[in-house]
Amino acid sequence: MRDLAESVFDKLVKRFREREQNVKLDVFNTLTDFLKMIVYIDERKDADENMEEILERPELTRLKSSFLDFNNKITSMISTLIKVFADKKSTPVLKIAASNLLLRAAKYTPEAVIENIDSVFPLIKNIYAQTSNPSELRVNMLKVLRSLSKSQIGRLRPQFQKYFDDIINLIRSAIQNDYFKLSSEGFRDLSIFYKVLRPTVKDSSAGYSKYVQPLIGLVIAKLKETDIDQEVNY
């Protein structure tokens, strides 16, 4: 079963070059389902993603034992996905589908994506920075960042830590955005970033003055805003 899955995975990744957009979309959807198949995951977490940060329950997300050495496959998928984003012929619909696939990879196999953080983070940053991109795509990039950050709580790796300055700048830009979907997603990223900096209150609060304190004013200012839009839940 594993051999079959692996050969199918490679073949699907190669089909990223497909010219027909609908076929490409189907390939992305199939790979998304495939990623779901190789992990054990607690689906309740998907039920209400706004609540997941405040519920401190044990999580279950890990690769199935037969797929434990799947990281190199994810690496090849990510490098091919980056080409899709860079391709000027890619339509917004296609880019959104590709971002959904990247989001699933970040959610189900965060460690494998962190291995490629040197190519993934610049991608997140660039896509977010381009205001001409659809909001859904930019929101998805913030979600990818959140999933990756979440995987670093309590087991921070140096290759992720070196992007702290860039991450906090990106979050700052997101929470100041006028569009509520971007700013609320930015705040969710920030909530997770607090935990990355300090997993428990017993840990050192060393990163506070450098990363968090400059943002306190923004957080309090946002809290003081009256609820103009009832849908926003910061």
Binding site: N50, E53, I54, F187, R188, L190, S191, I192, Y194, K195, L197, R198, V201, S205, Y208, V212, I216, V219, I220, K222, L223, K224, T226, D227, Q230, N233, Y234
Partner: protein, 89 residues
């Protein structure tokens, strides 16, 4: 929700003024939601806001904040309006 996360992680490093501002705003959110309780949508938000506030106080107690601060926050003057499902005419 971000404020709850902030208090739960860095509540002990935030200064008193910042903590008071956060808790006052959380209380204000709760109050304004209760005032708007005429609609079912607003009603459904009250438990979330109450939960957020209660959780923040819980975290503050867990990080052993000085009792005087907790007392000050909890004694902030605020009064719940009488709960009615009919909008005032």
């Amino acid at each position: 929700m971000n404020a709850v996360a902030l208090v739960s992680t860095f509540g002990d490093v935030l200064n008193t003024d910042e903590l008071l501002q956060i808790f006052t705003q959380l209380l204000n959110k709760l109050k304004s939601e209760i005032k708007r309780q005429q609609t079912m949508k607003a009603l459904s938000k009250i438990p979330t806001r109450e939960l957020n506030f209660a959780k923040s106080v819980f975290y503050l107690q867990r990080i052993n904040s000085p009792n005087i601060l907790i007392e000050r926050i909890l004694s902030t003057p605020w009064k719940l309006p009488s709960r009615t499902l009919h909008s005032p005419s």
